[in-house]
């Protein structure tokens, strides 16, 4: 089976709702950011040690949620096709909140900025956090420009905001697990 169809050679692609749009369409931009974030989360999950299998499972849950979210952003608002999509509730964001609280309770409080890095899994978590923030910025921008946006847009923004917080505490937890010291920023 060939995976190339050459249908995108003219710089256009199809939305889930059927419209042919430019690959520079802001919706595609959000989808691309979510896709990139998903790939980085995959690298993060692969880098986490076996002792953090529970956290890797949370990361994989977030990957599934990003697929579901991406489908909504690839659908023109108001299209009947949106009815076919899974509703994005707030469960995944709530799951992340519980995990953030659990991880944060076991970490020393932060009093200064720390340099993103440390162990390989900790560094991946920081990369994922920054990609997540970029996806959130693009989503917020398109949400603001969209008249009568679907609920999934706002739910995605909440989820991304919570996910980046989770990734920050996960980076710290992964570094502690690896015995990698946190380097404080010296202004």
């Amino acid at each position: 089976m060939k995976i190339y169809t050459r249908t995108g050679d003219g710089g256009r692609t199809s939305l889930f709702s059927g419209e042919r749009v430019s690959k520079a369409d802001p919706r595609l931009e959000v989808c691309g950011e979510i896709d990139e974030l998903n790939a980085v989360l995959g690298a993060l999950a692969a880098a986490l040690p076996a002792t953090m299998a529970d956290q890797a499972e949370v990361v994989r849950g977030a990957q599934g949620a990003l697929f579901a979210a991406g489908a909504h952003w690839a659908t023109a608002p108001g299209s009947p096709r949106a009815e076919a999509l899974k509703d994005l509730g707030g469960e995944e964001a709530a799951r992340l909140e519980a995990e953030i609280d659990r991880l944060a309770a076991s970490l020393p409080p932060l009093e200064r900025f720390i340099l993103p890095g440390g162990s390989a899994p900790g560094a991946w978590a920081h990369v994922a956090r920054t990609v997540c923030r970029r996806a959130e910025r693009r989503a917020v921008a398109l949400l603001a420009e969209t008249a009568d946006p679907p609920p999934a847009y706002e739910q995605t923004v909440v989820f991304l905001n919570r996910l980046s917080d989770f990734l920050f505490v996960l980076a710290r937890a992964a570094n502690r697990e690896a015995g990698a010291a946190e380097t404080e920023w010296e202004p």
Binding site: T5, G18, A68, A71, R81
Partner: protein
């Protein structure tokens, strides 16, 4: 957020073979029992498992039918094909689903359906569900592959079987054309905005989408590619 991967439809349901029949030399119609509570939309497919093998097959029955029917492309020497062509009534299988989003949506625009080979399967389910479309471009290699002709003919204003081989026989079929479905769309379809439903080989999808971008840019395009 409810991830798609955790949909309840992912859990397998046990089914039994009710009957099987050859729809065309290379196409098998398999009738299986309907699991309790199983609901689907025309155009969706199931994942069928048998003896450690799993394949995706489109449902072709109407949503209210008591049993499910599947349209199966026979692959010469294929492991699943070998098992299915001789499978007896009563044999046990399992399915998951329904899966997929290639479903029909009513719209003010005219619907153009285009298929190659067993890509016609979702249109059989849609026709049985009462969908009425403007045009069906049905690509087949040989005229003998045109099973369920009458059903499809009744579901569209224009039925256009496009036969890429056996050119003489193409001329003997009412409305038949020699050539590919994309040839018809590029040469005969009048300008306008349509809802295109494309199902079949990726090459056909690619050819059609290039023509749509060039000649029918106001259209919507829904695709299902399976080989």
């Amino acid at each position: 957020m409810g991830a798609v991967s955790r949909a309840a439809s992912a859990s397998p349901a046990a089914v039994e073979v009710v009957s099987r029949r050859r729809l065309a030399p290379g196409v098998l119609g398999l009738e299986i029992s309907r699991p309790p509570g199983f609901r689907f939309l025309p155009g969706q497919f199931v994942r069928l498992s048998l003896g450690g093998l799993t394949r995706s097959y489109t449902l072709t029955n109407a949503p209210g039918d008591p049993t499910l029917t599947l349209c199966i492309r026979l692959v010469a020497g294929g492991r699943m094909t070998t098992r299915l062509v001789e499978i007896p009534a009563g044999a046990r299988l399992s399915i998951t689903g329904p899966h997929g989003y290639f479903t029909f949506r009513a719209s003010p625009r005219r619907a153009v359906l285009a298929s190659t080979g067993t890509g016609v399967a979702p249109f059989l389910a849609m026709a049985r569900a009462g969908v009425r479309a403007y045009l069906l471009l049905r690509g087949v290699s040989r005229a003998g592959d045109l099973h369920d002709d009458d059903l499809l003919r009744s579901a569209v204003e224009i039925y256009a079987p496009c036969v890429s081989r056996s050119a003489d026989k193409a001329r003997s079929i009412p409305g038949g054309h020699r050539g590919r479905v994309s040839d018809y769309a590029g040469e005969r379809l009048e300008p306008g905005g349509y809802d295109f439903y494309l199902c079949g080989r990726s090459e056909m999808l690619g050819d059609m989408i290039r023509i749509i971008d060039e000649r029918f840019p106001e259209s919507l395009v829904y695709t299902e590619s399976f080989f």
